[in-house]
Amino acid sequence: MAEIRLQNVWKLFGKTIAVRDLTLTINDGEFLVLLGPSGCGKTTTLRCIAGLEVPDRGRIIIGNRDVTDLPPARRGIAMVFQSYAVFPHMTVFENIAFGLRVRKFSEAEIQKRVREAAELLQIEELLQRYPAQLSGGQRQRVAVARAIVMRPEVLLMDEPLSNLDALLRLHMRAELKRLHLEIKSTTVYVTHDQVEALSLGDRIAVMKDGQIIQCDVPEKVYAEPENMFVGSFIGSPPMNFLQGKVTMADRAVAVEMNGVRLTLPPGFEKLGERAGSQIIVGIRPENIEILREARENAIPAQVIVIEPIGFQRLLTLQALGATLKATTQADVTLAPGEQVWLRFDLQKIRMMDPKTGKAIPCRHPDG
């Protein structure tokens, strides 16, 4: 049992509110990612769970024990730091054994556990080295081994991949995911990298200004962002947002954008209630189809910039008085300045309220 519950947690630094009335339950064995821009309070939240910060208000419960006032040593947690924080004056073996020695495990048990952890992270042959002789990726593995050797109920990770180069990051990401399947500790993982969050998380809690904006499985967070912030923070390129007005024509709901009318398919009836009011249409770049000629419900646009990125192309388009991004396959030939038409995948558009920035529930759940 190591469910983590944060109940109305507040943390202030001077007059800055780092965490604002945060309530969150992390299930036993879950891999939860705290995602957000720098300064959103995600690391502070993690440090509150670790016990490195004491919340100003609120309770933290780990596996039914209220740990709010307990020191880190008595919380059953282990943590991986962004800087790895491997002890430079100890060998890799001593680094991994550190926590076990502090807790006075027998020498035999220490030997056994350290070797197991080293094996799991494929660093058996490095055990007698000093950290200065290791590469960044190897140090990272030592830091993870040092944490999991404790068999913690809760494993906390603070941007553990951010100091690795792109290739190694990609590799370690898959490694961490595999590791979690094996050790099954409840894991809280802090990152500002949305790809990392999508890739790793069972659930993603998107944070901003000390609050959780949306907490859901990656697919939902990506496809159905709760508000414009989530839509623009997740996805690269992010979701496009277009100003429009809801209109009714022939009993069909439509959105009028900069003079162009987009008729919505069945399922959007509920939006009819808002007829006449402003709305924001969100659409992800991959859900825009590029057409060579005008079609019904297609939007005229002009190609501004074409960026080949591997097997795809990223287009910057001028349409409806705004700038849009769209992705296409690399084999489509286009030139800057060219006139094209855009067809939105209307099953995948997302309506937002222009005042609050929040998503409007306008479709049937099965729509």
Partner: protein, 272 residues
């Protein structure tokens, strides 16, 4: 190809280095050579730059002068006491400066830095008065207390940077692995800070060993070596002065040799 401007620049740099080096090191060389010059040669005119033969007469004369051995012991004692006092107060202060944020920290920093600007002479006078009252006058402890006051700002400065050089993450990692804050300090911070702290201690010793003014004012019988040398300065022959000077520079040279590895550390800390 034209004359390489980078070559030219290098020549300029080396010339100026030589000049500055001479400026600060020349007196040292002068003293060293004079110490090992046979005494008669010292009074010859013009004095040759290099002694004709290596002679320890001057040094022997100095070491056998009455009071020199006693004051050397006193100086050593004062130096050790100063290290103990300065580290006992300065290291925790440096740790607090490096790790905790608290109201008034900036002001405290300023105060520490500013006190380095005050003349020793002035601080020594009221100290002498108080020491006479409380019985610390003319004792090694009294001098050590004065020297600690002098050394404290620089010790706090150095220890702050030494502790800043030990990443906070390491301490926190130890804590999350089951250590108390104190255990984390002992097992992780201290081993990593030790070289820097040792360098700070040596620095303190040299500072105390070389301090003349407070030592002169606060002692009568139990003079430290520099106080004695300065006291005897007017009365003694030239060769005594040079040997005294050399003898006083000696520990600085030894210490420099011992901690040369960490001197760059000190510098690195100081300017990074």
């Amino acid at each position: 190809m034209t004359v390489n401007p980078i070559r030219l620049r290098l020549i300029g740099i080396y010339l100026s280095m030589a000049l500055i080096g001479a400026w600060v090191l020349a007196p040292l060389l002068l003293v060293t050579f004079a110490t090992f010059t046979p005494p008669p040669e010292l009074y010859r005119w013009p004095k040759p730059f290099l002694p004709s033969r290596f002679s320890t007469e001057t040094l022997a004369f100095f070491l056998t002068t009455e009071g020199v051995l006693h004051s050397t012991v006193t100086s050593l004692l004062v130096g050790v006491l100063t290290i103990v006092l300065a580290m006992a107060i300065g290291a925790p202060a440096g740790y607090a400066m490096a790790r905790f944020s608290f109201w008034g920290k900036e002001g405290f920093r300023l105060a520490i830095l500013v006190t380095r600007m005050f003349p020793v002479a002035i601080l020594a006078i009221p100290l002498a008065v108080s020491f006479i009252r409380i019985g610390l006058y003319d004792t090694p402890l009294g001098v050590a207390i004065a020297h600690t006051a002098l050394a404290l700002p620089i010790v706090i400065l150095i220890t702050t940077s030494v502790f800043l050089g030990v990443p906070r993450d390491l301490e926190e990692a130890a804590i999350t692995l089951g250590c108390s804050r104190f255990q984390a300090f002992l097992k992780v911070v201290l081993p990593l800070a030790l070289p820097g702290l040792a360098a700070a201690g040596m620095f303190t010793f040299v500072l105390s060993w070389n301090e003349v003014f407070a030592a002169t004012i606060l002692t009568v019988q139990n003079r430290t070596l520099p106080a004695l040398v300065v006291y005897l300065l007017g009365l003694s022959p030239l060769n005594f002065r040079f040997a005294g000077g050399f003898f006083m520079v000696l520990p600085a040279l030894v210490v420099m040799f011992v901690i040369r590895k960490y001197l760059t550390h000190l510098w690195g800390i100081t300017i990074r």
